[in-house]
């Protein structure tokens, strides 16, 4: 279907495209190992977060937590905010985003364009200040509605009801699903669905490993695991550093013409790891991975050109995923 009643109805239903050049070559007679990219940048605001934003708002409307004219407050480092801003605009809500200073300028411009208000919290290293800022805002505005993507079941449900079924429909022979780990919503929802339907499915997480500046914790007990996270859904979990993420992001556009953001590079890195293992073990594999967003919002980082070391420096201290 290519006609929709509104932009919100055009969310999801994204293409799954094969990557014949990036898929590993297998020896003659060996079973095929293929990579497939789910192009989530084809959503209304250009990222996979449109699915979660739409489901979280609808769920809050249905439960009566969100009423016309309400204000939504959400901590977000970018894409969820942009998605929520679009949904809020079309559904008649005001959106206030709390976000760190160290995200790309495009994200800030996009949020403002969609009508969101932004409260900046100090960048990495100042997590104590960010905590204080967030607490203060929440205390001052008890009537604001927090959708709280890290603990909102509608975030994971969006993927259980849409992303998972789409993947299985388009790739019934799927053996691996690889996605990024942030709120964990994509992996939890899609992973649960695929585990119910596909025997032996491997659900693989790729999490970004940032520079040290970003881990501004005073001690281990300040760590945080999202309420949505359930380790039993995952088969494996990879930590991917900035250099590998940049390398793969560039490879994806150079070899297959897909222009993606850096979190997708991290996901591709993990996808290639499992694909090459399958080749080594002589097993058939159809590895589907998520292209979380396009590269447009990250051009100003300069990390698409120059040497890898330059790109790594450019992204140091930035939240690139």
């Amino acid at each position: 279907m290519a006609r929709y009643d509104s932009l919100l109805d055009a969310c999801g239903g994204t293409p799954l495209v094969g990557l014949p050049r990036l898929s590993p070559t297998v020896p003659d007679g060996a079973p095929p190992v293929r990579l497939w990219a789910k192009l989530e940048d084809r959503n209304p605001t250009g990222s996979i977060k449109d699915r979660a934003a739409l489901f979280m708002v609808r769920s809050a409307e249905e439960s009566g937590r969100l009423r016309p004219g309400d204000t939504i407050l959400e901590p977000t480092s970018g894409n969820t905010g942009i998605s929520l801003a679009m949904v809020a605009k079309l559904r008649g809500y005001r959106l206030v985003c709390v976000m760190p200073e160290n995200v790309s300028t495009e994200r800030v411009q996009l949020l403002r364009m969609y009508g969101a208000e932004i409260i900046f919290s100090p960048a990495a290293g100042g997590s104590n200040q960010a905590v204080a800022t967030a607490k203060q805002i929440a205390a001052e505005h008890p009537d604001w509605v927090m959708l709280y993507q890290y603990g909102n079941e509608a975030n994971a449900r969006a993927h259980y009801e849409t992303t998972g079924p789409e993947l299985l429909h388009d790739l019934p022979t799927i053996t691996h699903f690889v996605a990024g780990l942030g709120t964990t919503g994509t992996l939890m929802g899609t992973g649960r669905y695929l585990r119910e339907k596909v025997d032996g499915i491997q659900v693989v997480a790729a999490e970004p490993r940032y520079g040290e500046l970003v881990y501004g914790l005073r001690n281990i007990d300040e760590g945080y695991v999202p309420e949505l996270y359930d380790a039993s859904v995952l088969s494996r979990r990879f930590s991917v550093g900035t250099r590998d993420a940049v390398l793969r992001t560039r490879q994806l556009v150079e070899v297959e013409g897909i222009f993606a953001g850096f979190s997708t590079g991290a996901i591709l890195h993990a996808a290639l790891a499992v694909a090459h293992e399958a080749v080594r073990d002589g097993r058939r594999a159809d590895v589907a991975f998520v292209v979380a967003d396009g590269g447009w919002k990250y051009l100003s980082t300069g990390a698409y050109g120059g040497t890898l070391a330059d790109a790594e420096d450019a992204l140091e201290g930035q939240l690139w995923a």
Binding site: R65, L73, P75, S77, V98, M99, P100, S121, A124, S127, A130, V131, A132, A134, K135, A138, P142, W144, M146, L147, Y148, Y150, G151, N152, E153, L181, G182, T183, T184, A205, P208, R209, Y210, E212, V214, Y215, G216, L217, R218, N219, I220, D221, E222, G223, Y224, V225, P226, E227, Y229, D230, A231, L234, S235, R236, R237, F238, S239, V240, G241, L319
Partner: protein, 121 residues
Amino acid sequence: MAIEVRIPTILRSYTGGAKVVEGSGDTLGDLLADLDSRHGGLRARLVTDAGALHRFVNVYVNDEDVRFLGALDAKLNDGDSVTILPAVAGGAFGFAAAAAIAQHSAAAAAIAGHRAAVAAR
């Protein structure tokens, strides 16, 4: 040959400020015991009294999370690279703001909804 272990900033007080230390062991548990013999107190920050990895600690062997490789029983080989990191979500910001705002009533409602959904599954 030995196993290279990358230490996060917040634990470098146990390694005299060293970012990378070396150790040996057939499993992660052995490696942490070996490290503790030279960097006293480090193991207790990573492993609970019950003998499990601390909830907010992630340990990776060659970039793969050990919780999916047998946790403390994960097998190690000479030349492996082990990385220890604090658990954060969605970047540094996620944990800071989310943990703080978790006390907010609306977030509490969302979490309660999630728990109910999990319980109903």
